[in-house]
Symmetry: C2
Subunit: 311 residues, 2 copies
Protein backbone atom coordinates (compact mmCIF):
# COMPACT_ATOMS: atom_id res chain seq x y z
CA UNK A 1 0.00 0.00 0.00
CA UNK A 2 1.25 3.48 -0.78
CA UNK A 3 0.82 6.29 1.75
CA UNK A 4 -2.54 7.47 0.42
CA UNK A 5 -4.10 3.99 0.32
CA UNK A 6 -2.81 3.23 3.79
CA UNK A 7 -4.21 6.49 5.10
CA UNK A 8 -7.54 5.72 3.47
CA UNK A 9 -7.57 2.19 4.92
CA UNK A 10 -7.03 3.63 8.37
CA UNK A 11 -9.84 6.13 7.83
CA UNK A 12 -12.19 3.33 6.75
CA UNK A 13 -11.69 1.35 9.93
CA UNK A 14 -14.94 1.67 11.87
CA UNK A 15 -13.64 1.34 15.42
CA UNK A 16 -11.11 4.15 14.99
CA UNK A 17 -11.95 7.79 15.46
CA UNK A 18 -13.04 9.62 12.32
CA UNK A 19 -13.05 13.38 12.84
CA UNK A 20 -16.07 14.94 11.11
CA UNK A 21 -14.01 17.16 8.82
CA UNK A 22 -13.74 16.20 5.12
CA UNK A 23 -10.79 18.57 4.62
CA UNK A 24 -8.43 16.61 6.85
CA UNK A 25 -8.00 13.83 4.29
CA UNK A 26 -6.76 16.36 1.73
CA UNK A 27 -4.08 17.74 4.03
CA UNK A 28 -0.60 16.23 3.61
CA UNK A 29 0.85 17.41 6.90
CA UNK A 30 -1.05 18.40 10.02
CA UNK A 31 0.70 20.47 12.68
CA UNK A 32 -1.08 20.09 16.04
CA UNK A 33 0.21 23.51 17.00
CA UNK A 34 -0.73 23.81 20.68
CA UNK A 35 0.39 20.35 21.74
CA UNK A 36 3.43 20.62 19.52
CA UNK A 37 3.16 17.40 17.53
CA UNK A 38 3.00 17.01 13.74
CA UNK A 39 2.10 14.18 11.39
CA UNK A 40 5.35 14.53 9.41
CA UNK A 41 7.89 14.66 12.24
CA UNK A 42 6.22 12.50 14.90
CA UNK A 43 5.52 8.77 14.55
CA UNK A 44 1.99 9.10 15.91
CA UNK A 45 0.74 5.49 15.40
CA UNK A 46 3.88 4.02 16.98
CA UNK A 47 3.92 6.47 19.87
CA UNK A 48 0.19 6.82 20.61
CA UNK A 49 -1.59 3.93 18.84
CA UNK A 50 -2.15 1.99 22.10
CA UNK A 51 -3.93 4.84 23.92
CA UNK A 52 -7.33 3.84 25.33
CA UNK A 53 -8.05 6.48 27.98
CA UNK A 54 -7.46 10.18 27.37
CA UNK A 55 -7.77 11.92 30.73
CA UNK A 56 -7.89 15.67 30.94
CA UNK A 57 -7.83 18.09 33.87
CA UNK A 58 -7.29 21.80 34.33
CA UNK A 59 -4.08 21.89 36.30
CA UNK A 60 -0.63 20.92 34.99
CA UNK A 61 0.76 19.67 38.29
CA UNK A 62 -2.38 17.65 39.00
CA UNK A 63 -2.16 15.92 35.63
CA UNK A 64 1.50 15.10 36.22
CA UNK A 65 0.66 13.71 39.67
CA UNK A 66 -2.17 11.71 38.07
CA UNK A 67 0.25 10.15 35.58
CA UNK A 68 2.64 9.25 38.40
CA UNK A 69 -0.21 7.85 40.47
CA UNK A 70 -1.57 5.71 37.61
CA UNK A 71 1.89 4.41 36.85
CA UNK A 72 2.27 3.33 40.48
CA UNK A 73 -1.32 2.21 41.09
CA UNK A 74 -1.63 0.10 37.92
CA UNK A 75 2.02 -0.91 37.84
CA UNK A 76 2.64 -0.13 34.20
CA UNK A 77 4.14 2.29 31.81
CA UNK A 78 7.05 3.96 33.44
CA UNK A 79 8.69 0.82 34.75
CA UNK A 80 12.15 -0.33 33.72
CA UNK A 81 14.03 2.84 34.47
CA UNK A 82 12.05 5.30 32.39
CA UNK A 83 11.07 8.72 33.70
CA UNK A 84 7.84 10.58 32.84
CA UNK A 85 8.41 13.57 30.59
CA UNK A 86 6.01 16.11 29.17
CA UNK A 87 5.13 15.11 25.59
CA UNK A 88 3.82 18.57 24.64
CA UNK A 89 6.54 20.61 23.04
CA UNK A 90 4.75 23.86 23.93
CA UNK A 91 3.82 25.25 27.37
CA UNK A 92 0.12 25.62 26.46
CA UNK A 93 -0.69 22.17 27.83
CA UNK A 94 1.23 19.29 29.39
CA UNK A 95 0.81 15.66 28.37
CA UNK A 96 2.07 12.43 29.96
CA UNK A 97 1.66 8.91 28.66
CA UNK A 98 1.52 5.94 31.03
CA UNK A 99 0.80 2.77 29.10
CA UNK A 100 -2.65 3.16 27.53
CA UNK A 101 -3.45 6.26 29.63
CA UNK A 102 -2.80 9.78 28.40
CA UNK A 103 -2.90 12.46 31.12
CA UNK A 104 -3.26 15.95 29.66
CA UNK A 105 -3.87 19.40 31.18
CA UNK A 106 -6.58 21.50 29.50
CA UNK A 107 -6.29 24.87 31.25
CA UNK A 108 -9.48 26.65 32.31
CA UNK A 109 -12.62 27.27 30.29
CA UNK A 110 -14.22 25.92 27.14
CA UNK A 111 -12.07 27.78 24.59
CA UNK A 112 -8.98 26.26 26.22
CA UNK A 113 -10.32 22.68 26.32
CA UNK A 114 -11.81 23.17 22.82
CA UNK A 115 -8.36 23.80 21.26
CA UNK A 116 -7.03 20.74 23.08
CA UNK A 117 -9.96 18.53 22.03
CA UNK A 118 -9.56 19.49 18.35
CA UNK A 119 -5.92 18.45 18.55
CA UNK A 120 -6.44 15.32 20.68
CA UNK A 121 -9.27 14.05 18.45
CA UNK A 122 -6.93 14.47 15.46
CA UNK A 123 -4.11 12.83 17.43
CA UNK A 124 -6.09 9.67 18.28
CA UNK A 125 -7.30 9.61 14.66
CA UNK A 126 -3.80 9.85 13.14
CA UNK A 127 -2.48 7.40 15.74
CA UNK A 128 -5.22 4.89 14.86
CA UNK A 129 -6.37 4.46 18.49
CA UNK A 130 -9.30 2.07 18.92
CA UNK A 131 -12.38 2.48 21.17
CA UNK A 132 -10.83 5.39 22.96
CA UNK A 133 -12.61 7.08 25.91
CA UNK A 134 -12.15 10.79 26.76
CA UNK A 135 -12.58 11.71 30.42
CA UNK A 136 -12.39 15.10 32.06
CA UNK A 137 -11.36 14.85 35.70
CA UNK A 138 -11.76 18.14 37.53
CA UNK A 139 -12.68 20.23 40.52
CA UNK A 140 -15.99 22.07 40.78
CA UNK A 141 -18.51 23.79 43.00
CA UNK A 142 -21.27 21.54 44.31
CA UNK A 143 -24.97 22.21 44.86
CA UNK A 144 -26.40 20.67 48.03
CA UNK A 145 -23.52 18.18 48.32
CA UNK A 146 -20.96 17.75 51.09
CA UNK A 147 -17.63 19.22 49.92
CA UNK A 148 -15.33 16.42 48.76
CA UNK A 149 -18.16 14.52 47.04
CA UNK A 150 -17.32 13.11 43.60
CA UNK A 151 -19.89 13.77 40.84
CA UNK A 152 -20.07 11.66 37.69
CA UNK A 153 -21.93 13.80 35.17
CA UNK A 154 -25.28 12.54 33.94
CA UNK A 155 -26.11 15.40 31.52
CA UNK A 156 -23.88 18.40 30.83
CA UNK A 157 -25.96 21.60 30.63
CA UNK A 158 -25.25 25.26 29.89
CA UNK A 159 -26.15 28.32 31.99
CA UNK A 160 -29.77 28.10 30.77
CA UNK A 161 -29.86 24.44 31.96
CA UNK A 162 -30.03 23.23 28.32
CA UNK A 163 -28.03 20.15 27.20
CA UNK A 164 -26.22 22.24 24.59
CA UNK A 165 -22.84 23.77 23.80
CA UNK A 166 -23.19 27.03 21.88
CA UNK A 167 -20.24 28.47 20.01
CA UNK A 168 -20.07 31.29 17.43
CA UNK A 169 -18.86 29.96 14.06
CA UNK A 170 -18.64 32.24 11.01
CA UNK A 171 -20.66 34.91 12.83
CA UNK A 172 -23.57 32.62 13.81
CA UNK A 173 -24.26 30.84 17.09
CA UNK A 174 -24.05 27.10 16.46
CA UNK A 175 -25.73 24.92 19.08
CA UNK A 176 -24.54 21.34 19.49
CA UNK A 177 -26.10 18.71 21.75
CA UNK A 178 -24.06 17.50 24.69
CA UNK A 179 -23.58 13.74 24.45
CA UNK A 180 -21.75 11.88 27.18
CA UNK A 181 -21.53 8.08 27.34
CA UNK A 182 -24.21 6.63 29.66
CA UNK A 183 -22.29 3.35 29.59
CA UNK A 184 -19.03 4.91 30.80
CA UNK A 185 -20.90 6.93 33.47
CA UNK A 186 -22.52 3.72 34.77
CA UNK A 187 -19.18 1.92 34.84
CA UNK A 188 -17.52 4.85 36.63
CA UNK A 189 -20.23 4.82 39.33
CA UNK A 190 -19.82 1.05 39.68
CA UNK A 191 -16.06 1.44 40.13
CA UNK A 192 -16.46 3.30 43.44
CA UNK A 193 -15.04 1.59 46.51
CA UNK A 194 -18.06 1.21 48.79
CA UNK A 195 -15.72 1.24 51.81
CA UNK A 196 -14.47 4.74 51.02
CA UNK A 197 -15.49 7.52 53.44
CA UNK A 198 -16.89 9.80 50.74
CA UNK A 199 -19.70 9.60 48.21
CA UNK A 200 -19.62 9.22 44.45
CA UNK A 201 -22.89 10.40 43.01
CA UNK A 202 -24.42 11.42 39.69
CA UNK A 203 -26.26 14.53 38.53
CA UNK A 204 -26.33 17.20 35.91
CA UNK A 205 -23.25 19.37 35.54
CA UNK A 206 -23.54 23.03 34.54
CA UNK A 207 -20.65 24.48 32.55
CA UNK A 208 -20.14 28.25 32.60
CA UNK A 209 -17.96 30.77 30.77
CA UNK A 210 -16.91 32.66 33.88
CA UNK A 211 -16.09 31.58 37.43
CA UNK A 212 -17.44 34.65 39.25
CA UNK A 213 -20.46 36.33 37.63
CA UNK A 214 -21.07 33.33 35.33
CA UNK A 215 -21.49 31.10 38.41
CA UNK A 216 -23.65 33.73 40.20
CA UNK A 217 -20.91 34.59 42.71
CA UNK A 218 -21.09 37.95 44.46
CA UNK A 219 -17.35 38.12 45.23
CA UNK A 220 -15.96 38.93 41.77
CA UNK A 221 -14.48 42.28 40.74
CA UNK A 222 -17.75 43.03 38.95
CA UNK A 223 -21.19 42.16 40.32
CA UNK A 224 -24.44 43.64 39.02
CA UNK A 225 -26.78 41.11 40.60
CA UNK A 226 -27.96 40.77 44.20
CA UNK A 227 -27.51 38.05 46.79
CA UNK A 228 -31.20 37.26 46.34
CA UNK A 229 -30.78 36.88 42.53
CA UNK A 230 -27.89 34.51 43.13
CA UNK A 231 -29.80 32.32 45.57
CA UNK A 232 -32.83 32.13 43.25
CA UNK A 233 -30.59 31.15 40.28
CA UNK A 234 -28.67 28.45 42.15
CA UNK A 235 -31.92 27.10 43.54
CA UNK A 236 -33.37 26.95 40.00
CA UNK A 237 -30.22 25.11 38.86
CA UNK A 238 -30.64 22.62 41.69
CA UNK A 239 -34.28 22.06 40.72
CA UNK A 240 -33.16 21.44 37.12
CA UNK A 241 -31.02 18.57 38.42
CA UNK A 242 -27.68 20.43 38.51
CA UNK A 243 -25.45 19.03 41.24
CA UNK A 244 -22.16 20.66 40.29
CA UNK A 245 -20.80 23.65 38.35
CA UNK A 246 -17.57 23.80 36.38
CA UNK A 247 -16.24 25.36 33.15
CA UNK A 248 -15.58 22.71 30.50
CA UNK A 249 -18.14 19.88 30.57
CA UNK A 250 -20.58 20.92 27.81
CA UNK A 251 -17.72 21.56 25.36
CA UNK A 252 -16.22 18.12 25.98
CA UNK A 253 -19.66 16.47 25.77
CA UNK A 254 -20.52 18.17 22.46
CA UNK A 255 -17.15 17.65 20.80
CA UNK A 256 -16.91 13.99 21.86
CA UNK A 257 -20.49 13.55 20.63
CA UNK A 258 -19.69 15.10 17.25
CA UNK A 259 -16.61 12.88 16.86
CA UNK A 260 -18.45 9.76 18.15
CA UNK A 261 -16.02 9.35 21.03
CA UNK A 262 -17.26 8.07 24.41
CA UNK A 263 -16.96 11.00 26.82
CA UNK A 264 -17.30 11.35 30.59
CA UNK A 265 -16.86 14.04 33.23
CA UNK A 266 -15.86 13.27 36.84
CA UNK A 267 -15.38 16.15 39.27
CA UNK A 268 -14.92 16.59 42.99
CA UNK A 269 -16.79 19.41 44.73
CA UNK A 270 -14.62 21.86 46.70
CA UNK A 271 -17.51 23.74 48.34
CA UNK A 272 -21.32 23.82 48.48
CA UNK A 273 -22.40 26.85 46.43
CA UNK A 274 -25.77 26.92 48.21
CA UNK A 275 -23.78 27.95 51.31
CA UNK A 276 -21.20 30.38 49.92
CA UNK A 277 -18.81 31.60 47.19
CA UNK A 278 -15.30 31.56 48.62
CA UNK A 279 -13.10 28.48 48.22
CA UNK A 280 -11.44 28.11 51.60
CA UNK A 281 -10.59 24.45 52.23
CA UNK A 282 -7.10 23.71 53.61
CA UNK A 283 -4.31 22.67 51.21
CA UNK A 284 -4.46 19.19 52.81
CA UNK A 285 -8.20 18.87 52.13
CA UNK A 286 -7.66 20.17 48.58
CA UNK A 287 -5.03 17.49 47.93
CA UNK A 288 -7.12 14.72 49.48
CA UNK A 289 -10.28 15.70 47.59
CA UNK A 290 -8.45 16.13 44.27
CA UNK A 291 -7.21 12.58 44.63
CA UNK A 292 -10.70 11.06 44.85
CA UNK A 293 -11.57 11.21 41.12
CA UNK A 294 -8.07 9.83 40.41
CA UNK A 295 -8.68 6.76 42.56
CA UNK A 296 -12.09 6.28 40.91
CA UNK A 297 -10.50 6.43 37.46
CA UNK A 298 -7.77 3.97 38.45
CA UNK A 299 -10.42 1.46 39.56
CA UNK A 300 -12.39 2.08 36.33
CA UNK A 301 -9.26 1.50 34.18
CA UNK A 302 -8.52 -1.78 35.98
CA UNK A 303 -12.13 -2.97 35.45
CA UNK A 304 -12.00 -2.10 31.75
CA UNK A 305 -8.60 -3.68 31.16
CA UNK A 306 -9.72 -6.84 33.00
CA UNK A 307 -12.75 -7.12 30.68
CA UNK A 308 -10.38 -7.20 27.73
CA UNK A 309 -8.00 -9.64 29.42
CA UNK A 310 -5.29 -7.01 29.55
CA UNK A 311 -4.90 -6.85 33.33
CA UNK B 1 -7.81 55.08 61.81
CA UNK B 2 -9.15 51.63 62.55
CA UNK B 3 -9.17 48.94 59.85
CA UNK B 4 -12.65 49.76 58.52
CA UNK B 5 -12.06 53.53 58.27
CA UNK B 6 -8.71 52.95 56.59
CA UNK B 7 -10.33 50.55 54.11
CA UNK B 8 -13.06 53.11 53.38
CA UNK B 9 -10.50 55.89 52.91
CA UNK B 10 -8.69 53.75 50.38
CA UNK B 11 -11.95 53.01 48.57
CA UNK B 12 -12.80 56.73 48.43
CA UNK B 13 -9.55 57.62 46.70
CA UNK B 14 -10.49 58.52 43.12
CA UNK B 15 -7.29 57.51 41.35
CA UNK B 16 -7.36 53.98 42.75
CA UNK B 17 -9.30 51.15 41.18
CA UNK B 18 -12.83 50.68 42.54
CA UNK B 19 -14.29 47.35 41.46
CA UNK B 20 -17.97 47.74 40.57
CA UNK B 21 -19.19 45.30 43.21
CA UNK B 22 -20.90 46.69 46.33
CA UNK B 23 -20.53 43.34 48.12
CA UNK B 24 -16.73 43.51 48.30
CA UNK B 25 -16.75 46.16 51.02
CA UNK B 26 -18.82 43.88 53.23
CA UNK B 27 -16.37 40.99 52.96
CA UNK B 28 -13.78 40.74 55.74
CA UNK B 29 -11.38 38.41 53.98
CA UNK B 30 -11.04 37.88 50.23
CA UNK B 31 -9.27 34.77 48.94
CA UNK B 32 -8.06 35.33 45.36
CA UNK B 33 -8.29 31.59 44.83
CA UNK B 34 -6.69 31.09 41.39
CA UNK B 35 -3.69 33.37 41.96
CA UNK B 36 -3.36 32.08 45.49
CA UNK B 37 -3.24 35.37 47.40
CA UNK B 38 -5.56 36.49 50.24
CA UNK B 39 -6.24 39.78 51.97
CA UNK B 40 -5.66 38.31 55.44
CA UNK B 41 -2.38 36.48 54.88
CA UNK B 42 -0.69 38.63 52.22
CA UNK B 43 0.41 42.24 52.74
CA UNK B 44 -1.06 43.37 49.41
CA UNK B 45 -0.45 47.18 49.67
CA UNK B 46 3.18 46.68 50.74
CA UNK B 47 3.86 44.01 48.13
CA UNK B 48 1.85 45.32 45.15
CA UNK B 49 1.02 48.98 45.89
CA UNK B 50 3.64 50.33 43.45
CA UNK B 51 2.36 48.36 40.42
CA UNK B 52 1.63 50.59 37.38
CA UNK B 53 1.62 48.15 34.48
CA UNK B 54 -0.16 44.80 34.63
CA UNK B 55 0.94 42.82 31.56
CA UNK B 56 -0.78 39.59 30.65
CA UNK B 57 -0.01 36.94 28.04
CA UNK B 58 -1.17 33.41 27.34
CA UNK B 59 2.02 31.45 27.87
CA UNK B 60 3.75 30.91 31.22
CA UNK B 61 7.29 30.71 29.84
CA UNK B 62 6.78 33.81 27.68
CA UNK B 63 5.60 35.82 30.68
CA UNK B 64 8.61 34.68 32.69
CA UNK B 65 10.92 35.66 29.83
CA UNK B 66 9.12 39.00 29.61
CA UNK B 67 9.76 39.68 33.31
CA UNK B 68 13.45 38.80 32.86
CA UNK B 69 13.67 40.95 29.75
CA UNK B 70 12.03 43.98 31.44
CA UNK B 71 14.29 43.61 34.44
CA UNK B 72 17.33 43.68 32.12
CA UNK B 73 16.04 46.24 29.63
CA UNK B 74 14.83 48.77 32.20
CA UNK B 75 17.48 47.94 34.74
CA UNK B 76 15.25 47.64 37.75
CA UNK B 77 13.49 45.28 40.05
CA UNK B 78 15.58 42.16 40.37
CA UNK B 79 18.87 43.93 41.04
CA UNK B 80 20.87 43.46 44.24
CA UNK B 81 20.99 39.72 44.29
CA UNK B 82 17.30 38.88 44.12
CA UNK B 83 15.91 36.17 41.88
CA UNK B 84 12.52 36.25 40.11
CA UNK B 85 10.03 33.80 41.59
CA UNK B 86 6.45 33.00 40.69
CA UNK B 87 4.13 34.94 43.01
CA UNK B 88 1.09 32.75 42.25
CA UNK B 89 0.79 30.01 44.80
CA UNK B 90 -1.29 27.88 42.41
CA UNK B 91 -0.35 26.48 38.99
CA UNK B 92 -3.37 28.06 37.27
CA UNK B 93 -1.38 31.17 36.34
CA UNK B 94 2.15 32.46 36.91
CA UNK B 95 2.96 35.98 38.07
CA UNK B 96 6.28 37.86 38.27
CA UNK B 97 6.87 41.36 39.64
CA UNK B 98 9.69 43.51 38.31
CA UNK B 99 9.51 46.98 39.89
CA UNK B 100 6.22 48.55 38.82
CA UNK B 101 5.59 45.87 36.17
CA UNK B 102 3.54 42.75 36.86
CA UNK B 103 3.93 39.98 34.26
CA UNK B 104 1.13 37.41 34.48
CA UNK B 105 0.09 34.44 32.32
CA UNK B 106 -3.63 34.22 31.50
CA UNK B 107 -3.95 30.86 29.74
CA UNK B 108 -6.08 30.63 26.60
CA UNK B 109 -9.56 31.97 26.00
CA UNK B 110 -11.91 34.46 27.64
CA UNK B 111 -13.07 32.30 30.56
CA UNK B 112 -9.43 31.84 31.57
CA UNK B 113 -8.50 35.56 31.32
CA UNK B 114 -11.85 36.48 32.92
CA UNK B 115 -11.02 34.61 36.14
CA UNK B 116 -7.60 36.27 36.19
CA UNK B 117 -9.01 39.75 35.54
CA UNK B 118 -11.55 39.42 38.38
CA UNK B 119 -8.69 38.55 40.73
CA UNK B 120 -6.18 41.11 39.36
CA UNK B 121 -8.73 43.95 39.50
CA UNK B 122 -9.39 43.04 43.12
CA UNK B 123 -5.63 42.75 43.73
CA UNK B 124 -4.80 46.27 42.42
CA UNK B 125 -7.80 47.57 44.40
CA UNK B 126 -6.73 45.98 47.70
CA UNK B 127 -3.11 46.99 47.04
CA UNK B 128 -4.18 50.61 46.42
CA UNK B 129 -2.38 50.84 43.04
CA UNK B 130 -2.79 54.22 41.32
CA UNK B 131 -3.46 54.90 37.61
CA UNK B 132 -2.74 51.31 36.68
CA UNK B 133 -2.78 50.15 33.03
CA UNK B 134 -3.73 46.58 32.01
CA UNK B 135 -2.11 45.32 28.80
CA UNK B 136 -2.56 41.99 27.07
CA UNK B 137 0.49 41.05 25.02
CA UNK B 138 -0.17 38.08 22.79
CA UNK B 139 0.16 36.17 19.56
CA UNK B 140 -2.58 36.08 16.94
CA UNK B 141 -3.56 35.38 13.36
CA UNK B 142 -3.35 38.39 11.03
CA UNK B 143 -5.61 39.46 8.17
CA UNK B 144 -3.74 40.90 5.18
CA UNK B 145 -0.62 41.59 7.23
CA UNK B 146 2.92 40.26 6.83
CA UNK B 147 3.52 37.63 9.56
CA UNK B 148 5.53 39.18 12.38
CA UNK B 149 3.59 42.46 12.24
CA UNK B 150 2.61 43.91 15.62
CA UNK B 151 -1.02 45.06 15.96
CA UNK B 152 -2.11 47.56 18.62
CA UNK B 153 -5.87 47.06 18.94
CA UNK B 154 -8.11 49.95 17.99
CA UNK B 155 -11.50 48.32 18.77
CA UNK B 156 -11.98 44.81 20.16
CA UNK B 157 -14.89 43.07 18.40
CA UNK B 158 -16.66 39.73 18.73
CA UNK B 159 -17.33 37.12 16.02
CA UNK B 160 -20.23 39.24 14.70
CA UNK B 161 -17.80 42.23 14.41
CA UNK B 162 -19.63 44.00 17.26
CA UNK B 163 -17.65 45.93 19.93
CA UNK B 164 -19.17 43.75 22.65
CA UNK B 165 -18.31 41.00 25.10
CA UNK B 166 -21.26 38.69 25.75
CA UNK B 167 -21.31 36.40 28.73
CA UNK B 168 -24.17 34.37 30.27
CA UNK B 169 -24.91 35.56 33.81
CA UNK B 170 -27.81 34.07 35.85
CA UNK B 171 -29.15 32.39 32.72
CA UNK B 172 -29.24 35.54 30.56
CA UNK B 173 -26.76 36.81 27.96
CA UNK B 174 -25.25 40.05 29.27
CA UNK B 175 -23.61 42.24 26.63
CA UNK B 176 -20.92 44.68 27.75
CA UNK B 177 -19.23 47.27 25.54
CA UNK B 178 -15.53 46.81 24.82
CA UNK B 179 -13.61 49.87 26.00
CA UNK B 180 -9.88 50.11 25.45
CA UNK B 181 -7.86 53.26 26.15
CA UNK B 182 -7.36 55.33 22.96
CA UNK B 183 -4.67 57.26 24.85
CA UNK B 184 -2.63 54.16 25.70
CA UNK B 185 -3.05 52.81 22.14
CA UNK B 186 -1.71 56.09 20.73
CA UNK B 187 1.24 56.06 23.12
CA UNK B 188 2.00 52.42 22.26
CA UNK B 189 2.04 53.21 18.53
CA UNK B 190 4.30 56.20 19.21
CA UNK B 191 6.73 54.02 21.17
CA UNK B 192 7.67 51.98 18.09
CA UNK B 193 11.29 52.21 17.00
CA UNK B 194 11.05 53.55 13.44
CA UNK B 195 14.39 51.86 12.62
CA UNK B 196 13.00 48.39 13.36
CA UNK B 197 12.59 46.04 10.39
CA UNK B 198 8.94 45.25 11.12
CA UNK B 199 5.72 47.22 11.28
CA UNK B 200 3.57 48.18 14.25
CA UNK B 201 0.08 48.98 13.05
CA UNK B 202 -3.42 49.46 14.40
CA UNK B 203 -6.75 47.86 13.52
CA UNK B 204 -9.71 46.07 15.00
CA UNK B 205 -9.07 42.81 16.81
CA UNK B 206 -11.60 39.98 16.71
CA UNK B 207 -11.78 37.72 19.77
CA UNK B 208 -13.21 34.23 19.37
CA UNK B 209 -14.22 31.37 21.65
CA UNK B 210 -12.51 28.67 19.61
CA UNK B 211 -9.25 28.56 17.65
CA UNK B 212 -10.39 26.21 14.88
CA UNK B 213 -14.06 26.50 13.87
CA UNK B 214 -14.47 29.80 15.77
CA UNK B 215 -11.74 31.34 13.59
CA UNK B 216 -13.18 29.76 10.42
CA UNK B 217 -10.31 27.28 10.08
CA UNK B 218 -10.90 24.14 8.03
CA UNK B 219 -8.19 22.10 9.78
CA UNK B 220 -9.89 21.37 13.11
CA UNK B 221 -11.22 17.98 14.19
CA UNK B 222 -14.73 19.20 13.35
CA UNK B 223 -15.57 21.32 10.30
CA UNK B 224 -19.09 21.82 8.98
CA UNK B 225 -18.34 24.83 6.76
CA UNK B 226 -16.63 24.99 3.39
CA UNK B 227 -13.44 26.65 2.21
CA UNK B 228 -15.63 29.16 0.37
CA UNK B 229 -17.59 29.98 3.57
CA UNK B 230 -14.31 30.54 5.36
CA UNK B 231 -12.92 32.92 2.74
CA UNK B 232 -16.16 34.92 2.63
CA UNK B 233 -16.18 35.26 6.44
CA UNK B 234 -12.55 36.32 6.75
CA UNK B 235 -13.03 38.77 3.88
CA UNK B 236 -16.08 40.24 5.67
CA UNK B 237 -14.00 40.55 8.85
CA UNK B 238 -11.28 42.38 6.90
CA UNK B 239 -13.87 44.74 5.45
CA UNK B 240 -15.16 45.42 9.00
CA UNK B 241 -11.67 46.65 9.88
CA UNK B 242 -10.44 43.45 11.57
CA UNK B 243 -6.67 43.07 11.19
CA UNK B 244 -6.03 40.31 13.69
CA UNK B 245 -7.82 37.44 15.45
CA UNK B 246 -7.17 36.16 18.96
CA UNK B 247 -9.11 34.79 21.92
CA UNK B 248 -9.10 37.24 24.85
CA UNK B 249 -9.31 40.89 23.69
CA UNK B 250 -13.04 41.64 24.05
CA UNK B 251 -13.14 40.19 27.57
CA UNK B 252 -10.19 42.34 28.68
CA UNK B 253 -11.66 45.42 26.97
CA UNK B 254 -15.08 44.97 28.60
CA UNK B 255 -13.81 44.13 32.09
CA UNK B 256 -11.27 46.99 32.11
CA UNK B 257 -14.02 49.29 30.86
CA UNK B 258 -16.41 48.20 33.62
CA UNK B 259 -13.71 48.72 36.27
CA UNK B 260 -12.56 52.04 34.71
CA UNK B 261 -9.04 50.72 34.13
CA UNK B 262 -7.08 51.78 31.05
CA UNK B 263 -6.74 48.67 28.90
CA UNK B 264 -4.74 47.82 25.77
CA UNK B 265 -4.07 44.80 23.56
CA UNK B 266 -0.82 44.34 21.61
CA UNK B 267 -0.37 41.18 19.57
CA UNK B 268 2.07 39.90 16.97
CA UNK B 269 0.66 38.03 13.95
CA UNK B 270 2.09 34.53 13.39
CA UNK B 271 0.46 33.99 9.98
CA UNK B 272 -1.84 35.66 7.47
CA UNK B 273 -5.23 33.95 7.77
CA UNK B 274 -6.21 35.15 4.28
CA UNK B 275 -3.50 32.75 3.01
CA UNK B 276 -3.96 29.69 5.24
CA UNK B 277 -4.78 28.04 8.57
CA UNK B 278 -1.71 26.15 9.73
CA UNK B 279 0.86 27.83 11.97
CA UNK B 280 4.19 26.74 10.54
CA UNK B 281 6.84 29.36 11.29
CA UNK B 282 10.21 28.09 12.57
CA UNK B 283 10.90 28.12 16.33
CA UNK B 284 13.46 30.90 15.68
CA UNK B 285 10.88 33.08 13.90
CA UNK B 286 8.37 32.35 16.66
CA UNK B 287 10.84 33.54 19.30
CA UNK B 288 11.84 36.63 17.33
CA UNK B 289 8.24 37.61 16.59
CA UNK B 290 7.07 37.00 20.16
CA UNK B 291 9.75 39.41 21.33
CA UNK B 292 8.46 42.33 19.24
CA UNK B 293 5.49 43.31 21.47
CA UNK B 294 7.84 42.95 24.47
CA UNK B 295 10.29 45.50 23.02
CA UNK B 296 7.38 47.84 22.21
CA UNK B 297 6.11 47.58 25.78
CA UNK B 298 9.57 48.25 27.21
CA UNK B 299 9.82 51.46 25.16
CA UNK B 300 6.28 52.44 26.23
CA UNK B 301 7.12 51.86 29.93
CA UNK B 302 10.26 54.02 29.65
CA UNK B 303 8.28 56.83 27.98
CA UNK B 304 5.61 56.70 30.68
CA UNK B 305 8.08 56.58 33.57
CA UNK B 306 10.04 59.50 32.07
CA UNK B 307 6.86 61.59 31.95
CA UNK B 308 6.49 61.07 35.68
CA UNK B 309 10.17 61.76 36.36
CA UNK B 310 10.67 58.18 37.50
CA UNK B 311 13.23 57.16 34.88
Amino acid sequence: MDGTTEKKARLDNGSSVRPPNPYLEKQDVDVLFHIGLATDKDQLPARFGDVKFVCMGGSTTRMKRFAEFISERLGFGTQNGTVLTDLCSTDRYCMYKVGCVLSVSHGMGMPSISILLHELIKLVHYAGCKDVVFIRMGTCGGLGLKPGTVVVTDTAVNEMFEPAYKVPILGKIVSRPTQLSKEVATELLAAHDSNADYDVTTGNTMSTSDFYEGQARIDGAICEHTLEDKIAYLQAAYEAGVRNIEMEGTCLAAMCGAAKIKGAVVCVTLLDRLLGDQVTMTPEQHQEWEHRPQELLARFFINQLRKEGLY
